[in-house]
Amino acid sequence: MLRIIKREDVSKRQSILIRFIAILLSLVFSGVFIFILGFNPIEVFGNMVIGALGTEMRIKETIIKAIPLIITSLGILVAFKMKFWNIGGEGQIIMGAFAATYIALNYSDNFSRPVVLILMMLAAMITGGIWAFIPAFFKVKFGTNETIFTLMMNYIALKWVTYLQYGPWKDPNSQGFPKVANFEVNAILPSVFGIHIGWIIAIVLTIIIAIFMNYTKKGYEITVVGESIDTAKYAGMNIKMIVITAMLISGGLCGLTGMIQASAIEKTLTVSLSGGYGFTAIITTWLSNLKAPFVLMTSLAFAVLLQGGSYIQIAMQVPSSVADMIQGMILFFVLGSEFFIRYTIGLKSKEVA
């Protein structure tokens, strides 16, 4: 008979190995599907990598896709480290973009470009933070389930921006087409080496979060709360404050992503601006083993997948759903592998239950 046994302790090497096998398996299974669709999987995967990294232009496109993933993942990391499951990245991104747009549409002419941009960033971080604070508050006050709460907050944010886009913020010069007016130059992030400045922000934030989590008291407290609430209590930590601070940081970073996407990429506000980054970032965060430097790597890897995915559509005329499917496969196997990191399946054990 098969038995499921909880692993006593898992070495780091083992857990990394299991995750690695999971990714490998997801690629194998995606390969089978691609084969069934009538394409050569090796060629498809090869073309994805070529399409993402083959030329300077493609690398730039990949980095542009990696930037929102990195910043959102860093935000989600802070929450996940505390075992607070922030599934609300998408909504926090949208609310951040909303606040940044408010500044861009109303105050672009009042200040110089750097001031406008900094105001937009602050507004975005505060609003994203508030959007994460609400579920955090209810969690610490009433013990609500944060997974459901943050998830639902996404839809409220989405509907709010939809309302603005189709209603009060509709551009009167768009012939009635539901779009928000484009930003003026003052509200658009500049480029450095051909890519918008978001890449520098992403790298700086990675370093800051790495230091914050590993070398500061607050970062340490967040980790302790995640490991064991009892320990944290015993050590006299103010758990409620820690949870709320961490969520403000988490939502603030996601909100910043929204500002960057609205300002540097869309140059306006749209409901589709978040592009699913809030959800994809959950995968990249999880794969990074909740370590900031690894977030850079996993986000880049996923950006390769995204850019490669749109490249193969055009180069090989592979349906758009293939890239989505590969992502889904990776998520499925990685989440599935968590089970094998915590448990092991053996034949009839000697231990008596």
């Binding site: 690695f20 779009k179 055009i314």
Partner: protein, 365 residues
């Protein structure tokens, strides 16, 4: 840690090999075909809007037999990020001409035209262009809409016609007004009820909107959305429908009467011929029934008796240029005269339309 590094190194090496292979595989051809890219807002299998554009793309490729290679990306969201990325990937594949086929792609296309002066961009349904490499194209769909309105007006028994529409902006207002005038030209009591879905492509929402209209007593449905949802809803109730963009009689054989259609292929061939000849210049093309860009499909057996004859009669006048669609007196919903008797609207005036005509039920929101 060392092991991870080793694994990573191996990965990089493997990927490197892939890249090398890929580079070597591309053969050097003597006469490179002209690569033309198409960016679509929906899936090519939507049975409507994107399908019609894709038929045009296939027609183009068949016409030039190897001298033109086409590539496309479907289901591209109307965001800067996605449109820009799709276009860049196409240019990367050698595209020299790119057609962007949805209104929401306009701003992105404008920015791309500035960024890539050597690539020709043509945008469907927008109003922006430049002097060098960015043109737009559209057509007098009001002509075919008016004719389809005649069919609906003759068919309805309840005198209530439903109209499922995407967004309340100019292009759609023109269509709804032309359709309503057509219906009223044969049936004075006909009213047209409009429901907005706020989406180009949403089969479930379109069908729901259609069902709501049918519940209000509408017995003919027309549409300005991209799928066959409304026609299927009509089929299920045993009433009738007018499609859009392409022949979808297969989806609703007992409901489908006709559809106003775009013959994109004709335009694509003409433009690409100019590009090949080196005579292409940006223009704001406005196709008509006379030049074949706009059409109304032949009526099916479920269409009302005598409708084909009436449609043919008016169509002949439209083609001859003696039947401007928007000719006064025309009244808006409040009863105010918007076009005085004897006056006909020009193209510019038509595109300033910001009202719904008398007989349309529904608001501009």
């Amino acid at each position: 840690m060392k092991k991870i590094l080793a694994v990573l190194l191996i990965l990089v090496l493997v990927l490197g090999t892939f890249t090398a292979c890929g580079g070597a595989k591309e053969p050097a051809k003597a006469a490179e075909p002209l690569t033309v890219g198409f960016i679509y807002v929906g899936p090519i299998g939507d049975g409507g809007f994107t399908y019609a554009h894709d038929q045009g793309r296939i027609y183009l490729e068949d016409y030039f037999k190897g001298a033109v290679k086409t590539i496309y990306q479907e289901s591209v969201p109307e965001t800067m990020q996605d449109v820009t990325n799709a276009a860049k990937n196409m240019i990367d594949q050698g595209a020299k001409v790119i057609f962007t086929t949805s209104f929401g792609f306009m701003d992105a296309t404008e920015a791309l035209a500035t960024q890539y002066p050597d690539v020709i961009f043509m945008h469907f349904s927008g109003f922006k262009m430049n002097e060098t490499n960015f043109g737009n194209y559209f057509g007098a769909m009001e002509e075919a809409r008016y004719l389809s309105g005649i069919v609906a007006g003759m068919k309805t028994k309840t005198n209530k016609i439903g109209y499922v529409a995407a967004f309340p902006y100019t292009e759609l207002l023109i269509g709804i007004n032309a359709f309503t005038l057509g219906a009223q030209s044969v049936n004075k009591d006909a009213t047209v009820s409009v429901v907005w879905t706020n989406s180009w492509f949403d089969p479930a929402k379109e069908k729901d909107a259609a069902t709501a209209l049918l519940d209000q007593g509408c017995d003919v449905l027309a549409q300005h959305v991209d799928t066959t949802g409304p026609q299927i809803a009509a089929e299920e109730r045993g009433v009738w429908a007018i499609g859009y963009n392409s022949d979808s009689s297969a989806a609703a054989p007992n409901a489908f009467m006709t559809a106003p259609v775009w013959n994109h292929g004709i335009y694509y061939v003409a433009q690409i011929q100019k590009v090949i000849d080196g005579t292409w210049k940006p223009e704001s093309y406005y196709g008509t029934m006379a030049d074949g860009y706009i059409g109304l499909l032949p009526l099916t057996a479920v269409a009302p008796e005598g409708a084909q004859a009436k449609v043919d009669e008016i169509q002949a006048k439209i083609v001859a240029g003696t039947f401007p669609i928007f000719t006064g007196p025309i009244f808006d919903q409040t009863g105010k005269e918007v076009v005085p008797a004897g006056k006909s609207l020009t193209r510019e005036e038509i595109w300033k339309m910001d009202y719904l005509v008398k007989g349309v039920q529904g608001s501009l929101k």
